[in-house]
Amino acid sequence: MNDIIIKSITRLIIPFIQLYGVYIILHGHVSPGGGFAGGAMIGTSLVLYTLVFGIDKSKQKFSHRVSEYAESGGILLYVSLGLIGIVITGSFLTNIEAGFPIGNPGSVLSGGMIPLLMVGIGIKVASTFITLFHTLIEEEVV
């Protein structure tokens, strides 16, 4: 798409979409939303970038290799947080009892490890979104 308006608006709007995505991810335990919704927003911003600037440019910004690491890394983060529970209390995914700070209920810094889990899910969902989109574009028709 070679339209100056679309390109300029996209450049302007992408940081805000991503910021809002990060906001939704980090507030997953106190307000509606969470890792999946926020991750989907970040993923959508990357899809928008691909639609406007084309797949080649998008791949320079966010290559297959990076998204593979991000996908595995998001879940590995989740699993390793769960393993802390096994080591300390003897049960997978233990939250407060495993020593994660409970914080001040209602504020952003609360809920023990749930914000950290949400970050893991957010990374995974965002990278899955963009990988799926790139795969669909590149798929050769049989």
């Binding site: 690491y69 595995s72 879940i75 699993v79 393993l83 529970g85 049960s91 995914l93 939250n95 049989v142």
Partner: protein
């Protein structure tokens, strides 16, 4: 420490699936060796768990230390551990085979993806067996069907896409009817934990018979579609015959069995014998099992593609297992469990030996098997052992499971079922014997009768021999396994 092993088993499979994409740049043998190591670790830990459960009794595992009313609970008893050990052992054999052949018709760069899917498949199957929660079972079932459909369509051919699409559509109907049943039960009881639901269902049976009847209907039908029980089998032959040979073996020998195990769990642990007898589930199961046993074999006779034939044969064999369940007695359940084991071994052996023939000779048509026994003696010998087991010839596991089924039928006073068993055995002979006869007694086109071991990779030959040996070994000494299976059947009630 031992109580942590179930979750560690699950995490090992999940972790293995996650790190395969990170090894893309390294040589592929690193991935397969690491995967084999993970499988062996889980195998050892399953044996330790089995020993622990037999000596110390079953135990519960609460994820995140939440109460069972709120959180997810795993129940580790003889049933779940024995079948997870069976799944892991069978998959190790098939896995070693798959490293030789990897997979006919799959592009080289897809190998990594194939093993990712395989490990997520294993993760879901073990999760289904361990979990003590109906909704958690649904989540694992969805993971299982998504990975299965990807494995079926991994060859990127038109017929694979057709089979995969048909599979995903029918299985989604199955999943959703199961979920609807869970929702109805949640409406009555307010829980999804199997034991709490079971208590609620027993006390609510007189108050809400319509709800519980609907829930049983939806859940049994939904799982019946996924387990390919006779009238819902139409997706199975396509899906199992178009997939690569090693995954056909896994799908047919293991994955379908997992759904039957969910059905056993629901019928006996959630509803209990009294309720399922009050709504005549056993009669329904016995009728559809008998029809399936006969019709599956008749469809198989008509096939010319050998893998499709094996697919239809699976439909008939699932009928045997359902018949054992339908007798709702200890003997019947034990016979069904034994047939899950023996059919797993035999069908894996059949698919793998046919896979070796397809790999080496590139033939799939039954009529082209003339004289192949001289060119591929090991593969065809294992095929013959497994086929004789399917027919129910003594010295094989198939004979023991038919014997147990017959004894259970006599015990239940259902003589008709014995007639069905015998007729089905004859029909099995009708389509397995011609292949063996043409393979060993007819001449091939080149008139070669020189017998020498076929030139296929050692990693493919050894698993075949192991499977053939196991079929005969368990057929000769079934005692140990039968007593373990009795303990598993007892742990359900």
């Amino acid at each position: 420490m031992i109580t942590q092993l179930p979750i560690i088993n699950l995490l090992l499979f999940l972790g293995m699936a996650l790190i395969i994409p990170l090894f893309k740049k390294r040589s592929f043998s690193l991935t397969t060796n690491l995967g084999l190591g993970v499988l062996f670790l889980v195998w050892i830990s399953s044996i330790v768990l089995l020993y622990h459960v037999i000596t110390e009794g079953a135990f519960y595992y609460q994820l995140g230390n939440y109460d069972r009313m709120l959180g997810i609970e795993l129940l580790i008893n003889t049933f779940s551990v024995l079948f997870s050990l069976f799944i892991v052992s069978l998959v190790i054999i098939i896995y070693i085979y798959s490293t030789g052949d990897a997979t006919e018709g799959v592009a080289e760069k897809e190998y990594g993806r194939y093993y990712i899917l395989l490990f997520i498949l294993l993760f879901a199957m073990l999760g289904i067996l361990y979990t003590n929660d109906l909704f958690n079972t649904y989540v694992f079932m969805e993971i299982l069907s998504i990975t299965t459909v990807s494995i079926i369509s991994i060859k990127r051919k038109k017929e694979n896409y057709t089979a995969a699409f048909r599979y995903v559509m029918l299985n989604e109907v199955g999943s959703l009817s199961y979920l609807f049943g869970v929702a109805l039960l949640y409406m009555i009881t307010g829980y999804t934990n199997i034991e709490l639901v079971s208590e609620g269902v027993q006390s609510g049976w007189s108050l809400y018979p319509a709800n519980i009847l609907t829930a049983i209907g939806f859940m049994v039908t939904g799982i019946g579609i996924k387990a390919a029980i006779f009238p819902f089998h139409i997706w199975l032959p396509d899906a199992h015959s178009t997939a690569p040979s090693s995954s056909s073996a896994i799908l047919s020998a293991v994955v379908v069995k997992v759904y039957i195990l969910i059905m056993i769990k629901i019928l006996f642990r959630v509803f209990g014998i009294d309720i399922i007898q009050a709504v005549h589930i056993p009669t329904v199961l016995l009728v559809i099992a008998s029809i399936g046993m006969i019709m599956g074999s008749i469809f198989a006779i008509a096939q010319t593609d050998v893998k499709r034939m094996l697919g239809y044969s699976s439909v008939a064999q699932i009928g045997y297992i359902v018949m054992g369940i339908g007798m709702v007695s200890m003997l019947g359940l034990q016979a069904a469990f034994f047939h899950i084991f023996s059919h797993g071994l035999m069908k894996a052996a059949l698919f793998l030996s046919v896979g070796a023939v397809i790999y080496h000779k590139k033939i799939r048509n039954v009529n082209e098997f003339d004289g192949i026994g001289f060119q591929m003696p090991v593969a065809m010998f294992v095929f013959s052992i497994a086929a004789l087991g399917m027919i129910g010839v003594p010295l094989t596991t198939g004979f023991i499971s038919k014997l147990n089924l017959g004894l259970a039928a006599l015990d239940a006073g259902q003589v008709v079922l014995i007639v069905v068993l015998i007729v089905s055995g004859f029909l099995n002979a009708l389509y397995y014997l011609p292949i063996m006869i043409s393979a060993f007694l007819k001449d091939n086109k080149d008139q070669q009768r020189v017998m020498r071991v076929e030139k296929i990779p050692k990693t493919m030959l050894v698993p075949l021999v192991v499977l053939g040996g196991l079929i005969i070994a368990i057929g000769l000494f079934p005692g140990e396994l039968l007593s373990l299976l009795e303990a598993a059947a007892l742990s359900l009630t």
